[in-house]
């Protein structure tokens, strides 16, 4: 067995190994001094051919294309190992792995960074991406013992969630779910809502998630609209051969208000959930099904929620170089809507200026039902050593009903998408990605009307290796037509470079991003606080130029640093405009903005290798530039400082750790600028034990029960204790 450091270029070799007859790679995966590892992941990099080991630690990868392939074995708590093997057509090659625990003293080999698939729409080593990418691995997902994808992504460097709305380097602020400036993908398939453009973070059960990649900065040159501030790609698990099952049960409780004058109920709020996954696979076809749900009493008044979900995935590999994947999910939420908290006179205020755990009586009885689901299918074919292609189709459907006293709203939206993508290696050191994409969105709603939007796009990007440098250039053109009207075009170019030096890998990029207005922003027609919200069909896309200069370096065997300077100039931002003269609100292209700053992340194993620590810091200068009569001012809901400290200690099968997240006080907020506001200081603690097929994880979120809010008059989660028990077969 060989454990090797991967040369930087090796990840692209997969395209050169194709032949007419299949080969087989087989072997075992052992943990150092613990014997066979069950359910370790073994993958042939490139074509993403993978499997899991059985109880004896055995694996078998058939349908491997002849040639030189890179095989990776990894398992939670162990350092991944790589092996480069040469297989001939019709031959079988054995590759055995012995994985070292990630906490043992002295690492005798270089640990190669993870492979990412989002930054360039193809597999590449993380250090070769021209923009910053944060990866939330399956190890971190398990360690954090969270229930939803947004909880898992929340602590990633440079990422901040504001009441379910994701911000990457301050991209979106808080716009109450209308129009995200971040694009969400599920296995590479766009999944922002067809009507509002927002993101349903509960679309995919967390049980199904393998890892999450977060690409920072404008990504429209490959992904088009909404990728103005970044892209979040939720990658689902590969299915292992044989029969596997997993049952996860969780329970928890919410802390009561820390002051008696804030008490709002006579019992302790609880949450409980149960989900199960079953899968069966052969070398030819594999399938998995997940189902479950959870209930929460919520941590404040009128905050109960029920959630049901199911998901399925099918993986068919009829030929060595051909793979068809189909997946889908459906989730339904029924939840009380707490709206804003109560201020003096709005409830039983007990003489207080505000009651953060209670709601205003005007919002009593508000309730929402939200259903969402998607299906997608992707056909991948590696046609030759130099050429591979894939085609995919997808359908995302969302439905909501807001029940508010005297003011019910509802809407159904669809988003149909299709993409054809090709990857070519026309010459040594050159990789070219080209593709075409189409999408149709429609909505039928009492407040958004009946409308549709068609989008077609073509894109291409080429990477050329020149010595130690990799130069990238590409562009995408999007055509958008609303309600069958005339086409409007948006061009999004991007250039970048990566230079590997003794001082680490330097990266630089400049790209243009855009976000087309959502159908909701164009056509919303409703009433808010007596003001009439009127449509604006003439809205045009908002755009931004993003520049980044970064460096990723391992400054010692136990310390890795990634730092990036970023600068974004945004134009024609879509924001609500209030006209008191007419009593109307309308979305308009009004603002110009500048977002610049520093992203720094550092991971280290100080003191003892059993202890892993991480620091992530983002400094953000976010200003709305002067326009019309509005002077320059801070952008609302953006923190100047965002700091996350993490530490985890592992001793055999027991682990313990925590995160501390500091969010500086917002310089400016909207709606209630006179309200007291504080910095966010949240400490999360966790502990876990694994024994055989069972694992128990405990989590104490907001351990100090720090009471704060980040969006107007909306209490952030209080201390929550949860325990998750997982059984794996």
């Amino acid at each position: 067995m060989r454990q090797l450091a991967l040369p930087a270029a090796a990840v692209c070799l997969w395209g050169q190994v194709l032949g007419a007859q299949d080969a087989v790679v087989y072997g075992t995966v052992h943990g150092e001094s613990v014997g066979p590892l069950r359910s370790a992941e073994v993958v042939v990099l490139g074509p993403n051919l993978g499997t899991l080991t059985d109880r004896g630690g055995h694996y078998r990868l058939s349908r491997v294309s002849p040639g030189v392939v890179i095989v990776r074995a990894r398992f939670l708590g162990y350092v991944p190992a790589f092996d480069t093997v040469r297989v001939a057509a019709g031959d079988s090659v054995e590759a055995n792995f012995v994985l070292r625990p990630s906490v043992t003293d002295g690492l005798p080999f270089v640990v190669v960074g993870p492979v990412v698939v989002t930054a360039a729409k193809r597999s590449q080593l993380l250090d070769q991406a021209i923009t910053s990418v944060a990866v939330v691995s399956d190890t971190e997902l398990a360690r954090r013992a969270v229930n939803t994808v947004d909880e898992a992504v929340d602590k990633a460097p440079g990422v901040q969630f504001l009441y379910g709305q994701v911000n990457i380097r301050g991209s979106t602020g808080y716009v109450q779910g209308l129009g995200s400036r971040v694009l969400m993908l599920v296995d590479g398939v766009p999944a922002n809502q067809g009507d509002r453009g927002g993101i349903n973070w509960d679309l995919v059960p967390l049980e199904e998630v393998q890892r999450v990649e977060i690409v920072k900065g404008a990504g429209s040159s490959l992904y088009g609209s909404a990728a103005l501030g970044g892209v979040v790609n939720v990658l689902t698990r590969d299915i292992a051969p044989g029969f596997h099952a997993r049952v996860r049960a969780s329970g928890g409780s919410y802390a009561n208000p820390p002051h008696d004058v804030w008490k709002f109920r006579d019992y302790t709020g609880a949450e409980e959930g149960l989900d199960a996954t079953g899968s069966y696979g052969t070398e030819l076809v594999r399938a998995s099904v997940t189902g479950g749900g959870w209930h929460s009493d919520g941590y404040r008044e009128q905050d109960r929620r029920d959630h049901w979900q199911t998901a399925a995935k099918l993986d068919w590999r009829p030929l060595a170089a051909t793979r068809l994947t189909a997946s889908g999910s459906w989730a339904s939420d029924q939840y009380e809507t707490p709206l804003i908290w109560c201020t003096r006179g709005g409830c039983d205020d007990r003489g207080q200026a505000y009651q953060p755990f209670m709601i205003d009586t005007a919002g009593r009885g508000a309730f929402t039902r939200s259903d969402k689901g998607y299906v997608s299918a992707t056909l991948e074919r590696t046609a030759s050593a130099r050429f591979a292609w894939q085609a995919r189709g997808s359908w995302l459907r969302t439905r909501f009903s807001d029940y508010q006293p005297g003011n019910d709203d509802a809407g159904i939206a669809n988003r149909f998408g299709a993409e054809l993508r090709a990857l070519a290696h026309p010459a040594e050191g050159r990789v070219v990605t080209v593709g075409a994409e189409g999408a149709r969105s429609d909505v039928a709603s009492d407040i958004f009307g009946d409308h549709s939007q068609n989008e077609v796009a073509a894109y291409g990007e080429s990477e050329q290796r020149v010595g130690r440098a990799r130069l990238t250039a590409g562009a995408r053109i999007d055509y958008i037509a609303v309600d069958g009207g005339g086409l409007s075009a948006v061009v999004s170019p991007r250039v970048g470079a990566v230079l590997e030096t003794s001082a680490g890998a330097w990266r630089a990029s400049a790209g243009r991003g855009f976000r087309g207005p959502s159908l909701a922003e164009r056509f919303v027609s409703t009433i808010v606080s007596g003001l009439v919200v009127i449509p604006n069909p003439d809205l045009h896309p908002e755009t931004a130029w993003s520049l980044e200069l970064g460096n990723a370096a391992r400054i010692s065997p136990s310390v890795h640093v990634d730092a990036a300077l970023f600068w974004t100039e945004a134009h024609d931002l879509i924001e609500p405009n209030v006209n008191l003269g007419t009593g109307q609100i309308q979305f308009r292209n009004v603002a110009r903005a500048r977002l610049a700053g520093l992203d720094l992340s550092l991971s280290a194993t100080p003191l003892t290798p059993r202890l892993t620590t991480a620091l992530a810091y983002t400094f953000l200068y976010a200003r709305g530039l002067a326009h019309d009569t509005v002077p320059e001012r801070p952008l609302a809901f953006r923190p100047k400082h965002l700091l996350t400290l993490s530490a985890d200690y592992q001793w055999h099968t027991v682990s313990a750790g925590g995160d501390f997240r500091y969010t500086s006080r917002f310089e400016r907020v909207e709606l209630y600028p006179g309200d007291e506001r504080v910095a966010g200081k949240v400490l999360d603690l966790r502990v876990g034990v694994e024994r055989g097929p069972l694992s128990v994880r405990g989590r104490l979120a907001n351990a100090l029960n720090y009471i704060y809010n980040q969006v107007p008059r909306t209490l952030a989660p209080v201390r929550t204790l949860s325990v998750t028990l997982t059984w794996t077969y």
Partner: protein, 174 residues
Amino acid sequence: MTTRTCGAAAFAVAAAVACNKGLEPALAPTSCPQGFVGVCGTVSFVGQVPESTARVFVVAFDTFPKSQNDLFKFKPQPTPPNLPLGGPAFFYTLPLPPARYEWVLAVWQKQGTLSPTNADSLLRETGFYRDKGDTTAHGSGIVIVNAGTGKDSIDFVVDFNNMHRVCYYFPPCP
């Protein structure tokens, strides 16, 4: 224990201590709070609150509305503060930008979806501030809000037995 361990422990303790200060209970003010910009005062209540009440809130107009179209030029936007639905006298605070205001009033809102076209059926004037000695129909209550300070003693009565429709000010009533 090594120096580095001590440093790490000290850092952890410092971080933990630093955490423990968030929002805390705040008694409702009885006079304009320091640094508050707007008007403050005491509202007392008369009469029985109608069952169809959605809410009662307090707003200000810099000039008295000249037509129904001006009714939505109130401040503060978009959501003025609520008043309780009756009960003992209530001290209110109304955040406003520094300016001269001609009309500070309480508005009763009936249950239902409010829009400019149905304002007459869903909104009632239910009390307003007036200068001493003023006898005009809508009241003359000039209030000057200066930068950096609150204007105190803008007291008035909310009378649920004597509420006025929009058309009372902009006749004729249908």
